[in-house]
Symmetry: C2
Subunit: 298 residues, 2 copies
């Protein structure tokens, strides 16, 4: 199958590597605006060649849009305009309402499958691409009833080729959930990096920082080009998640400040419950199932 | 050299392992109030045997106190009372002002070296003990002028045997710095774990959580027995660091809420500066030096 990857960064590069290795993609053509990234992607064998959008799209069976979400919003309508009637178009962006709204009335809407694989690192560019980045993780498919069944089936098959499980929900539920489990941790890390730099202008402090600090602030290395548009497009849920987070920090600070020893203990023990959840010791929907259907109620 | 380790957890266990392997400790005796931990530590060969405090102390050349900091405050005066005149006593706790104040006027104060190795994991107990936990990291020695030079030299030699670099500062500077680089990240992780559980009561959310969420919330698994007393004893600097952190989160939220695109970009780019600092690309005091003297000015 001939696959076109628009945006040759961490996500596009990693997907291309794995899809080629899985034999899912037999031809891989890249579209990339940054000439250095384009050259690097070809050098690394991530794609066979790099073409312009106009040259690449007609021959594609599947088009992956793996650009920052602001670029995706400007690109997607034109991509749907230009592809053949048989081509499936999917994107991997972390925010979905703005994008799906932009093509809600598009005549080719059913050829588009909005998706979001829950995987990544704090690095960027084709040289950051990793094999097996997605294995065992979850991909979210949004608004499935708006995509044609064959197009949906192809994207599901693609995610299975990457070793991913699939979750189904609306674009709104997607944006709300990822605001808490993905976007908020990034904002928390950015703010922590700024707070520590604000207070400690001597580099020595970072020598003191051990693994605990490093792991909490790791996401603060994440690229502005990718994360700025995510925060902008998911604005309302970002404000909500940050407000909820700050409420819990205030609770924590107040318990310490006011010497509320039992309350502080309760807050720590409640946080400790994450251990069982993250270690998979709590019942999970995904035990031994590759695919499941989840309907979130508001 | 005969070493007594009071508190056979992650830190005491890891130190015992490495000090034995380095040939620094030829005899290792444990003191431990939890019988399961005591049995496990002997079974794992971390210590040769476990004795009561009264039995263990007289024969010791070096006593390591590696208990939670509330236990250390109650233990240290009695330990200084009971040891021989030649014994060095050191502790590894993360908060120093309360503890050093408790023994400020002790007749044996010069036999005590307050220390804090900047290393750890989110796990607890002797089974969590790791080899090489400390290698390449920094140990803080506090109020050095209050310790006898021979006792200071022995503790410095011990840290070098663990492969650590050493930083010198006052107890107050120690508490202030670690409030930002260690205690705040733990509080941030606890609050994040509570915020996400608060909002998402369906376990599915944690299936969605990828590596980014996991690394940011990892510290939320840390034990209450260790961290509750740290927050209590470092109360004033914890409140300060949490206030500074919340100020930066508010800035971040306001930039998103008010559509301040340039400001949001500036905040992310400033946070990105952590990449160079953590990757060691900025000039650091510790290049090629095992020991250095640092005087912090307020």
């Amino acid at each position: 199958m001939d696959v076109v990857v628009i945006g040759l960064g961490l996500i596009g590069g990693s997907m291309a590597k794995d899809l080629r290795r899985a034999g899912f993609a037999t031809g891989l053509v890249g579209v990339e605006s940054d000439p250095e990234h384009a050259a690097e992607a070809v050098r690394l064998g991530i794609v066979d060649r790099v073409d312009s959008l106009e040259e690449a799209l007609p021959g594609a069976d599947l088009v992956l849009i793996t650009t920052p979400v602001d670029v995706a919003v400007t690109l997607l309508p034109g991509v749907l305009d230009r592809v053949g009637a048989h081509t499936t178009v999917t994107d991997m962006g972390s925010v979905k309402r703005r994008l799906t709204e932009a093509v809600r009335e598009h005549s080719r809407r059913r050829q588009y499958v909005p998706a979001h694989p829950m995987a990544g690192t704090e690095n960027s560019g084709p040289s950051a691409a990793l094999e097996n980045l997605f294995r065992g993780k979850i991909a979210i498919l949004c608004d499935q009833e708006e995509s044609g069944p064959q197009h949906l089936a192809l994207v599901e098959k693609m995610f299975h080729a990457l070793g991913m499980h699939i979750a189904y929900m609306t674009s709104d539920e997607q944006d709300h959930s990822t605001a808490f489990v993905s976007h908020l941790p990034h904002a928390a890390a950015y703010a922590l990096a700024n707070a520590v730099q604000d207070k400690e202008d001597r580099n020595i402090i970072f020598d003191l920082a051990s693994g605990g600090f490093n792991s909490t602030v790791r996401l603060a290395k994440s690229s502005c080009a990718m994360w700025h548009p995510i925060f902008v497009q998911n604005r309302d849920y970002m404000v909500e998640s940050l407000n909820v987070y700050m409420k819990h920090l205030e609770q924590f600070r107040d318990a310490i400040r006011d010497g509320e020893s039992r309350q502080l203990e309760a807050l720590i023990l409640n946080a400790n419950r994450i251990r069982a959840i993250l270690n998979g010791e709590s019942p999970r929907f995904l035990k031994n199932e590759e695919t499941f259907v989840t309907y979130f109620t508001k």
